[in-house]
Symmetry: C2
Subunit: 305 residues, 2 copies
Amino acid sequence: MNIEDEIKKLDWSKEPKGLYEPIGYTLEAGGKRIRPTLCLIGARIFGGAEKDVLPAALALEVFHNFTLLHDDVMDKAEVRRGRPCVHKKWDENTAILSGDQMMIEAYKLLSQVAENQLPTVLRLFNKMATEICEGQQYDVDFGISEYTGISLHEYMMMIRLKTSVLLATALQIGAYMAGATEQEQQALYEYGIHIGLAFQIQDDYLDCYGDEKTFGKAIGGDIREGKKTWLWLTAMQSTTDMSPLMSKDYTTIIAEYNRLGVPQKALQEIERLTRQALTYLEQVPQNEATDQLRQLAEKLVTRKS
Amino acid sequence: MNIEDEIKKLDWSKEPKGLYEPIGYTLEAGGKRIRPTLCLIGARIFGGAEKDVLPAALALEVFHNFTLLHDDVMDKAEVRRGRPCVHKKWDENTAILSGDQMMIEAYKLLSQVAENQLPTVLRLFNKMATEICEGQQYDVDFGISEYTGISLHEYMMMIRLKTSVLLATALQIGAYMAGATEQEQQALYEYGIHIGLAFQIQDDYLDCYGDEKTFGKAIGGDIREGKKTWLWLTAMQSTTDMSPLMSKDYTTIIAEYNRLGVPQKALQEIERLTRQALTYLEQVPQNEATDQLRQLAEKLVTRKS
């Protein structure tokens, strides 16, 4: 099953256009479709049919894109996936209302799952949706608080909520719908959590040490914005002289990171989390779908963009 | 069952405070709680237990308050129920994100209904949620379009979506959960639709002809904002000389309304819609709960605020 084709089949040519066009615009912009793909893989590992989990897989993708739409409004972002954000192409009110409708559309897709599985799927989905909003709020809170307010532990908690739980829940829902045991569902969930954490640290790493050509955006953005990333928080806890880290100059910060061995620590942590993710896969049936998750983990550690 | 007490029992003292406090603030502000009350009455008419429909009733109230929260951001409103709007007391991003979480909380409450009833309740709820967003979008579209773009018929369609379907669905969900037939559910739904339309026209009427003391806000607000209300659209279709109606001066508009018999037409239409609403009640069991709906309709026509 090609998930991109399934997303294209969703009809957004409805009235009123002001409500639905921005939803179509957002969903047609592409992206890796990693969340619905994980949901399908989660089902395939346990011999589930992709068509049975498709509504849930699509709900996850629509919900994810809804969060991007509203996050872009809150961040006052200009561009998403090479095109103007909805609140730029239309206006802020359109982005708020179309985003609201997009969340409802996610729940409409979800309501198409088999009736006997709906209560559990809805419960898992609601838990995930709540955690994403909590993660977003912690991100906001951390952004405005002083350093003393945030530890590396809290940062990991935040990215777990903001990024990992959606990947983890996508796998769990697919697994649950295909008849996996609680323990098997939990194993895939933990794989998703660890992959998500590794993914975010890799993102923080590439923002400082990536190649502009392959990374697709300017290097050092996090530093110039003074963002509290995994690298910055790790540097902070590795030194007693915090003054160089208060700079927003790329060269100054990178020199300090290098002096403190931060890039090596980041790569080690990504490697550690990825290895840990892979151990969880030992608890589920071994087949081509499980192999796909292994390859995904592998690709993550070596990715340049 | 006192619905106000049940709303108070919901716990918003959770972390992160920035996400949950605005939800508690919004819900504690009161209001008539008409939607959850209708849901409970809908169940009582068919002998249903209030405690069984309570989660759905609360979901409707939380969802309604979510729409108010986001509408206030979009309208740049200052005050709601005598207190600063969330985006004023906190900020716009807080209002967006807490609103999003509030919608999720509505779905979490909904997920507590009996498992065998969940698929239908979720379907009815999603349909209603979609229609409210569509109604809000039409309201925006109508606000920016020229007169020629809107007929009274379109205005009624818009308020049906924006206001009536939530009242109608509240009754329908209560009735469905208590075992009403499709036809009985539909009768209560139509009662809700007609009451909602009458309510909105009464609102438009009071904004021009109400008593400031009992209405609770300044008279003539709609006129000063140049809003296309039922009264204005009716005046437009009753005259060939549209120029006086292009004014935003209270005295000019009211004189024109009076000349064209608009207030009498409004009162007649409210009366007609209310009578029609009451006829639908003949199709459902007659008991004290049905009487409550009759009293509600009566109160509506004679209300001053």
